[in-house]
């Protein structure tokens, strides 16, 4: 078994209003960060899991996202895996 750290980045689905992102964008603009074109606020979930290989680790994390961690109606997610064994 190997140990993996998996970062699950969850962001609002493209095309959906992201009121938090909009507020942060406005705040950055008011601080004169005029180069900021867009902001999305999501969340990061960091998992540590044991798996025989990276493929299985990714599959399991993907299933966790589909069943619980992300809501497919409103959110998109990306997985980043690192073997820390």
């Amino acid at each position: 078994m190997n140990e993996y750290v998996i970062d699950v980045s969850i962001t609002p689905r493209e095309g959906l209003l992201d009121p938090q992102g909009k507020v942060v964008l406005n705040a950055l603009r008011s601080l004169d960060f005029d180069e900021v074109a867009d902001v999305k606020v999501g969340r990061l979930i960091r998992l540590r899991i044991l798996a025989p290989n990276m493929e299985v680790a990714r599959e399991r994390a993907d299933e966790m996202c589909r069943r619980l961690l992300a809501n497919p109606v409103t959110e998109e997610y990306e997985l980043e895996l690192e073997n820390i064994s």
């Binding site: 959906l16 507020v23 619980l68 109606v73």
Partner: protein, 239 residues
């Protein structure tokens, strides 16, 4: 009539629902802890409002895996009536019993005030005591009540008369200003295809007596009672 009200850790409207059930419906109501696995064959299940599991992850996301939810899903799939209010609406969406989801209010503010909603479909078992187009004044209390769904779902909801309540102004117009949380198409409440599962963000259980400032929420409970008892509206309701 027997009513089961599920209490999740963080539910805070379960007792309001209990009062509405006992005092408006004169029902035999029971609070059921979410760890239980038996609903006790009620005539109605209510998933109350509140902040189940502190709204961690997403409102309703954890609660929908509570042990009792297996029973609630089975009950709903058998065509028995389930009413989800506020956080209970979230739980129904997360459990897949209702389509779509509810995200952060567009203002980012928690909204705790009375709003107007229009009855869009008075032909459901939850709304037969109202007339179509009737405007109700009901309290809302939520930070995440902004209803979203994909275009196909919205079209289906509209076409099938499954948008049951819509946010409107005092004149009954579904304006953008009246849509405080930013819900798609001003949607405040929807029903499933079969017509036995209703979810709504406003709190009818907080509007069942003049003492609470409005009695406009009584109709939901009266409608359910009439549907369950098969009696003419009002016949079995005192006061």
């Amino acid at each position: 009539m027997r009513v089961a009200i599920v209490t999740f850790p963080g539910s805070n409207c379960d007792h309001d629902c209990y009062r509405a059930a006992t005092e408006v419906l004169h029902a035999d109501a029971k609070l059921i802890w979410h760890r239980e696995r038996d609903l006790g064959n009620p005539d109605l299940v209510i998933l109350p409002g509140g902040f189940s599991y502190g709204d961690y992850l997403r409102p309703g996301a954890i609660a929908r895996f509570s042990p009792i939810m297996e029973e609630v899903v089975r009950y709903a799939k058998a065509g028995r009536p389930v009413l989800g209010i506020c956080n209970g609406f979230h739980i129904l969406c997360e459990a897949g019993l209702l389509p779509g989801a509810l995200v952060r209010n567009r203002t980012l503010k928690f909204l705790g005030l009375d709003v107007f909603v229009r009855v869009e479909n008075a032909g459901t078992m939850f709304t037969s005591a109202y007339t179509e187009g009737q405007v109700l004044r009901l309290p809302i209390a939520h930070g995440e009540g902004n209803y979203v769904a994909d275009a196909a779902t919205l079209e289906a909801l509209e076409a099938e008369g499954r948008v049951v309540f819509r946010y409107v102004d005092a004149n009954g117009e579904a304006t953008d200003e009246a849509n405080l949380n930013g819900s798609m198409r001003n949607i405040a409440g929807i029903i499933n295809e079969r017509g036995n599962v209703l979810g709504l963000m406003p709190h009818p259980e907080r509007a069942v007596s003049a003492l609470l400032g409005s009695t406009d929420g009584r109709g939901i409970f009266e409608s359910i009672l009439a549907a369950i008892q098969g009696t003419p509206l009002g016949a079995a309701i005192a006061g």
